[in-house]
C-alpha cells in the first residue's frame, strides 16, 4: 500500500503536471488572465468614479476596493478555469487517470492561485498610479498572498461544484462570498493595517486568522474534493 506519511513522488508529479498543463494552455491564449485583468481595471475605475473621494478618504478605502476587485476578478477566473475543464472534457480525462483525486484538487488550486496572483501583480502598479499610493510594501504583499490562497482554496472546491449545476457561473459567487467572507474581512483588515502603518501587534491578529483559515480550508477542501467530482 502507499506510504501516506509523505506525498509520493507520483502524487507530486501529478500535481505539477496539472499545473503545468493549465499554465501552458493559458500562456498560449492568455484569455483567462487578460479578461481577469481587464475586468479588474474596470472595477477599479467604477469604484474610482462611484466613490468620488478626496485623497485622504481614498487612502482609507484602498484596502476595501482592492479586495473587492480581487474577489470579483477571482470569481471570474475560477469560473472560467473550471468551465474550460468541463467543456473540453479535460475533467473526465483527469478523473480517468490513475491519480489520486486530491492531486487534481491541488493542481487546480495552484494553477487558479497562479492566475489570481498574476492578475494581482498587474493590478497593484496600476492602482498605485491611479490612487497615488505605493502598494508595493512587503507586508501588503504577504497579506495579498495569504488572502488569495484562502480565497482560491475554497473557490476551487466550490467552482468544481457550481460548474456541475444548471445555474453554473452565477452560482459560484453566491456560494463563495458568504463562506469566504472571513478571508476577505481579515485580508482587508490586515491590508489596511499595513497601508496605514499601524502597530504590528494590531495587524498580527488578522494575519493569524488568515493563516488559520488557509490551513483549515485547504485541509477540508482537499479531503472533500473527491466526493464532489465523483460521478
Amino acid at each position: 500500500m502507499d506510504d501516506h506519511s509523505q506525498p509520493t513522488p507520483f502524487f507530486l508529479r501529478a500535481i505539477l503536471a496539472i499545473v503545468w498543463k493549465d499554465l501552458r494552455a493559458e500562456f498560449r491564449s492568455l484569455e483567462l488572465v487578460s479578461s481577469m485583468l481587464v475586468f479588474s481595471l474596470l472595477v477599479i475605475l467604477i469604484f474610482n468614479f462611484a466613490l468620488e473621494l478626496d485623497i485622504k478618504t481614498r487612502q482609507s478605502v484602498t484596502a476595501g476596493v482592492l479586495w473587492a476587485t480581487f474577489a470579483f476578478a477571482g470569481t471570474l477566473g475560477l469560473n472560467r478555469s473550471m468551465s474550460i475543464e468541463k467543456d473540453r472534457g479535460c475533467m473526465d480525462g483527469l478523473l480517468l487517470a490513475p491519480v489520486d483525486r486530491s492531486a487534481i484538487y491541488f493542481g487546480k488550486f495552484i494553477s487558479n492561485l497562479a492566475f489570481m496572483l498574476l492578475v494581482e501583480v498587474f493590478v497593484l502598479p496600476i492602482y498605485s498610479v491611479l490612487y497615488n499610493t505605493n502598494l508595493f510594501q512587503p507586508g501588503l504583499l504577504l497579506v495579498i498572498l495569504l488572502g488569495s490562497i484562502g480565497y482560491t482554496a475554497v473557490g476551487t472546491l466550490l467552482a468544481a461544484m457550481s460548474v456541475q449545476t444548471r445555474t453554473r457561473d452565477v452560482l459560484l459567487p453566491i456560494l463563495l462570498f458568504p463562506v469566504a467572507f472571513s478571508v476577505l474581512l481579515a485580508a482587508v483588515k490586515a491590508s489596511g493595517g499595513f497601508l496605514s502603518n499601524s502597530e504590528l501587534t494590531d495587524i498580527l491578529l488578522p494575519i493569524n486568522l488568515l493563516i488559520a483559515y488557509d490551513v483549515i480550508f485547504i485541509a477540508v477542501a482537499f479531503m472533500v474534493f473527491d466526493i464532489v467530482v465523483e460521478e
Partner: protein, 232 residues
Amino acid sequence: MRPKPMTLKILDVISILVLGIAAYLALVVAPTELVMGDVQRVFYFHVGTAWTALLGFIFSAVLSVIYLVTKDLKWDRIQVAAIEVSLVFFFITIVLGSIWARPAWNTWWTWDPRLTTATITELIYIAYFMLRQGIDDPDRRARFGAVYALLGGISAPITFFAIRLFRTIHPVVIGGSNVNAEGGFSMTADMLGVFFFALFAFTVIFIDLFWNRIRLGDLQEQVEQLKLKVAG
C-alpha cells in the same frame, strides 16, 4: 402515506400552547426594562429563535458528515428539514434584532459583529438551497448539499471570531451587570425565568416544525418514487 403519529399531534398542540405562554410571559408577566422600555421584550423571542437556529445549523453540519459516511438519503432529507427550519427561525432573529436596535441604538441596521455574522450565516444557508435547486440528480444534490453545509458550518464560527476583531455595540447580556456595552441590560430574576421558558418554548417549537418538515420530505420522496414508477 403514514398517518400523523399521535406523538406529533400532541407535540403540535403543545407547541402552540407553549408559544402562547411564552408570549404571555414575555409581554405581560416580565417586568418592563427601565432604560429601553417595552421593546426589550422582543429579546425573549430574539434569543429563543437565535439559540435554536444556531443549534440547528451546527446539527446540520453533523448531518452532513453522517450522510457522507452512510450515503443514506434519509439523512439528506433530515438535513434539508433542519436547515429550512433554522433558516426561518434565524430570519426572525435577525429581524427582531433589527427592531430592537432601532430604539436602543437609534439605527435600523448596523454592521456590528453579531449582526453581520448572522446575515452572512443566513446567506450561507440560502445559498445551500440555491445550490440544491440547480441540481436534478438526487444523489449529487445530496452530496453537494452535504459538502456545502459542512463548509458553511465550519466557516460560520470562523466568521464570528473574525468579526470580533472589532469593537461590538451588540449588548453582552449574559455577561451580567456590565452595562457598558450600549443597549445592554442586566436581567432581573423574573426576567431570567421568562428567558429560560422562552428558550424551552422555542426548542419545543423547533422540534415540532422540524419533525413535520421531515415528514414532508419523506412524502415528497414517496411521490417522486411513484412518479418514476408510473412514468416508467
